[in-house]
């Protein structure tokens, strides 16, 4: 008999940076109050990847995030994607101002509270932090094996092994596919180019069924939600939040735009003179070759 696989997914609430939604302050920094927050795009991919193990291995999925009370929106969205069984929100003033290390400390504590977890899935990185550190740090703190840039995985639950394909870079060569295996428990982060493969009719049918169920569950998502304070998690408040954060962001700079190396001119084709000029210029170029 197959034993149930327990999966934890770590997600993050992020500003919606898609076109038309993002709002900036005059100095070029993000206007957070005007910009709506959503489940971050990499978190969404990680959540999709967790749904794969729900469809294929009937995994029990717990999604967690650290953030303010309103971060439960991200959990709700994640539930819609992966039909999660539980949602965990780590929310406490003590967690405020955390860098990646302090965040990892909170999440580690949260995952420990979940009981036995076989696989933790995280996003590639966050779009507002871009560091990609939280995943590996949580793995290190939990003492789990870590695999990054995963684009496909399968689980051998009897032998407690995860088999993964990861997209890596070797000596300047990009997009090399590496196949790896490691024992569970493990933490994997998902590459943005992840594409799930549902190859059989029964997988497709189950996918649809669970997806529908997820939409229903999401209407009542609070029923699946548990909010944890620092005390409930049992973390030392000196190792989380601002006090637990060794890094300090001391400056955010706008990256100057590269100078254009080509010049553009817009030709108004309704004007004969301009058209003629364009024709002459094209001829010139062709003749010079």
């Amino acid at each position: 008999m197959q034993s149930t696989i327990n999966v934890a997914v770590m997600v993050k609430l992020e500003p919606d940076l898609s076109e038309g939604n993002v709002s900036y302050n005059p100095d070029g920094t993000l206007n957070r109050s005007q910009t709506r927050s959503i489940l971050g795009p990499h978190s969404a991919i990680a959540t999709r990847a967790s749904f794969y193990s729900k469809v294929l291995y009937d995994a029990n999925i717990k999604v967690c995030t650290m953030g303010p009370p309103m971060a439960d929106i991200a959990l709700r969205q994640a539930l819609e994607i992966c039909n999660a069984d539980e949602l965990h929100l780590y929310s406490d003033r003590a967690f405020a101002g955390a860098d990646t290390l302090a965040t990892a400390e909170t999440i580690k504590a949260g995952i420990r509270k979940m009981g036995s977890i076989d696989l933790v899935i995280g996003g590639h990185r966050a779009v507002d932090g871009e560091t990609g550190q939280t995943g590996p740090q949580v793995a290190w703190k939990l003492g789990f094996n870590f695999l990054g840039n995963v684009i496909d995985y399968s689980i051998d639950s009897a032998n407690r092994i995860i088999h993964a394909e990861r997209l890596i870079e070797i000596q300047g060569l990009y997009n090399i596919l590496e196949e790896v295996e490691c024992p569970l428990p493990a933490l994997i982060t998902i590459d943005p180019s992840y594409r799930e493969r549902y190859n059989t009719v029964s997988q497709r049918l189950k996918y649809i069924k669970l997806q529908k169920e997820a939409m229903k569950k999401a209407e009542n998502y609070k029923q699946y939600l548990k909010v944890w304070s620092a005390k409930e998690l049992g973390v030392d408040t000196r190792s989380v939040g601002l006090p637990g954060s060794p890094t300090i962001v001391y400056k955010v700079e706008k990256v100057p735009r590269a100078k254009a190396s080509r010049q553009t001119r817009i030709i108004d084709v309704s004007k004969d003179s301009e058209l003629k000029e364009l024709g002459m210029r094209l001829l010139e170029i062709l003749n010079s070759k």
Binding site: R204, I208, K209, D268
Partner: protein, 629 residues
Amino acid sequence: MEKYDVAIIGGGSAGLAALMELSKLGLQAVVLEGAKPVGSKSVTGGILYSKNYRNAKVYNVEEVYKNFLDDAPVERRITGYYLNAVSENKVYTVDLTDAHNYQTNFAYSVLMVRMNKWFAAQAEEEAQKNGGGIVSGVHVSDIVWENSKTIVQTDELEPIQVNAVVAADGVNSEAALMTGARKKFDVEALYQGVKSVIRLPEDIIDERYGLKEGEGVAHLFAGDISRGHNGGGFIYTNKETLSVGLVYHLDSLIKSPIEPYTLLDSFLTIPQVSNYIKDEVPFVKEFDRDLPKEEQLRMKFGISKLLKSWEELRYTYYSKTARRKAIESRLYKSEEELRHRLDETRKELEEKFRVSFVTNYVELEYSAKLVPDGKRALMDKPYKNNVLFVGDAAGRGVFVGTRIEGINIGIDDAARAARAIARAKEHNDYSEEYMGRYYGELINESPYTDDIRKIDFEYLKIFVNACKEIPTESLNLFLRLGFMLLQKATVQDFARAITKMLDQRTLLALIETNEAYVKIPMEVAEKIGRTVNPDYKIKPPSIDERIAKIRINDDPEPHIKILDPNSRFIKSMVQLCPTKCYIMEILDKERFKSEVVLQHEGCIECGTCSKETDWKHPKGEKGVTYEYG
């Protein structure tokens, strides 16, 4: 390999009904459908009938889907049915409501894609109880028989093993070719249908067609609309749209090819039709080119935003339900306020942006599809091995003059196929001899099969009665004789005997002539028609604009192979392809040698060119997806 009781190829109305019925009978069945979402490759006219045959059983839509009458997203209940004979701007209208109501419980106008979506949701729920369901975005590529196993292969998924297959893959059935159950249909056995869905506010439809809330009407057109081809046109009222289209005998079109969109355009511009579809639409003038670029851009954004809200306001104001909802949800205090906002927005468009309002119409979707002409396409043996053919795939449909029925027949076929398979399961015998033959018997018992094969005297009588005002001297000798016989009570028994004797094919060869489709209606209109004079001319969109609106995923691999670039048939495709996929290329100027080549694949899978091409549905999710159908 995974195993299922039944694989259903195609998730149109017939395939979905098969899933529903099989699931009700406790079988584990899966629909494998190329389109995503399911049903979005289907096109219909379309009126969905529920029939009432006194002496025979039919499986009607409301029996297959028990909550149909309460929940289904039907458009309008058709309460009036008219045939319009047209010659230039003269029209003579025959009221065929009685003929239409003959043996009919009800008829609803439907938009096939929306309807299919609902069918799919119901069938899927039922199928899940037995572990079955619908998989969309997969293309069935083969059925093979290996060591007494039936294996269905797709381009996307691992093969599955099944006991039986329902082929519900439409008029261009690939299953038919895979199994060798039939050849591709001949041009004589097909019609080409082309259609546009036109938007019109609900209240305007009610008022223009003289309808009460929820009521609908069907208008057919014959005569001077076809540029001499055999076929006719239709307008069906939906809730907030009209389905307007034409259906022509493909052989007649091959004889003298003409672009389907040219036919559609000339239909839309005949006075009677443009009166029915006309609407008030905004006309945006070109910007002054000397204005600074930023100013032009600003104007563009301003106009599009305002146009959007004008449209929203208008469709809310003119729709009973939307109006009610908007007031209930306190979006507007009253109807007056809504009206006021609408007028204000319009004024702003006129004054600020110099937008004018003209008479034209709004086309939402252009589509085309072949229709099997049941009386010539009907498969005598709609089965092969353990594969049962239903609906268009089996060439079934009653398309006789003004009777156009395909959806209801496909649903009935599907219910019969499900019963044959359930019995086969009980006896564990899925052979052609046991299951196939039994299905054949069930199909033969279907009153539709009789309707496809024979003329129904009672229907004919009602039809002729409705036409009693028409002066018989405009008819040809044969038709005049027929009409007179049918109208004279004393010789009706004799007439009945003749219609019983003659099968459809013989009789229709006499009736389905250019004379009946074109000349007689024109003559009738000229002699006794009324004059319709519009004071405007509607301007249809160009074919390029139409194609641009259709959702076609680019498929980098060509999926159409021309078999003979020089055949007469393929040469006619240069004109007959509804989306201009072919061109004639001059190969040798001196000898004027030319060949047909595929210039692009804006293919909407209508199937018109299928006869002489290696024509496949594009793989998986690729290809056309209609929004209305």
